[in-house]
């Protein structure tokens, strides 16, 4: 257990070491005008999302099917699965 003074001294050492390893960011201004990008973002219509055809790869569906089938045939797996979740 360390006391407050030791902890503060440790923080100061860490600050010095970190600042020499990872210097503070010097340039905190954007390199370009970001307003046109923001305008473009506002004007871009949102992507149409259809619930009928979710974008999920076929192997994810296959895994889901295997997992569901296993749980139907081996219900004893359910507590084990819940335990690991």
């Amino acid at each position: 257990m360390i006391n407050k003074n030791e902890y503060n001294a440790e923080l100061d050492r860490l600050r010095n070491d970190l600042q020499s390893a990872i210097p503070p960011i010097a340039n905190t201004h954007p390199r370009r005008n970001l307003w046109p990008r923001l305008l473009q973002r506002i004007e871009t219509p949102p992507l149409h999302v259809s619930f009928r055809t979710p974008r999920m790869p076929w192997f994810d569906w296959a895994l889901l099917g295997i997992a569901a089938t296993s749980l139907v045939f081996f219900p004893a797996l359910i507590p084990a699965l819940l335990y690991h979740l």
């Binding site: 902890y7 440790e10 923080l11 050492r13 860490l14 600050r15 070491d17 970190l18 600042q19 020499s20 390893a21 990872i22 210097p23 503070p24 960011i25 340039n27 905190t28 201004h29 954007p30 390199r31 370009r32 970001l34 307003w35 990008r37 923001l38 973002r41 506002i42």
Partner: protein, 172 residues
């Protein structure tokens, strides 16, 4: 009518005024967290996009600056969660003035590695307080947590860093 009120009413010029007023501060805050200028630009645009999306729920008397900083911090932390530590290390600027011995280079590499091993929510506190010299209060407000929670995160981060460095034969 204030700029915020005009913006809430859908005035795009008022939004541009707000953007011009706050973009430097938002970008500067994000780049201190993600330490990658191009990612910081993307996240700055995303922050203001969120502001635009929520304009009808905006309080015209509220603190727009604090709202932006909170959203920017959350987006930056999400970015850290998605990024691989190796990518973050790659984007670190190299100080060419530092002509180090091999040992010093190893110490610096160990420090960087230890920092990157922290979870994003601990790393953000260490970066902002110890590297960027931000106050605990500013960091607490930006993260939306209490001052004591920030101090606790710093304590936990220091403990982990000490342990990681000791494993590499280094002392704090």
């Amino acid at each position: 009518m204030s700029v915020l009120e005009r913006f809430a009413a859908g005035d795009i010029q008022a939004f541009e005024s707000l953007f011009r007023e706050h973009q430097g501060q938002v970008y500067g805050w994000i780049v201190r967290i993600v330490r990658d200028p191009s990612a910081a630009e993307d996240l700055t645009v995303e922050t203001f996009w969120r502001l635009y999306q929520h304009r009808d729920r905006l309080d015209p008397n509220g603190n727009c600056r604090a709202w932006l900083r909170r959203v920017a911090t959350n987006l930056a932390i999400d970015h850290l969660r998605r990024s691989k530590p190796a990518e973050l290390l790659k984007s670190e600027p190299i100080d060419e003035k530092q002509m180090d011995s091999l040992e010093q280079q190893q110490v610096r590499a160990a420090l960087r590695g230890a920092l990157m091993s922290l979870s994003p929510k601990l790393r953000v506190v260490v970066q902002l307080v110890l590297i960027e010299d931000e106050s605990y209060a500013t960091v607490a407000e930006s993260l939306g947590i209490s001052l004591s929670a920030v101090k606790l995160r710093m304590f936990r981060a220091t403990r982990i860093l000490r342990k990681k460095l000791q494993q590499r034969g280094l002392q704090l």
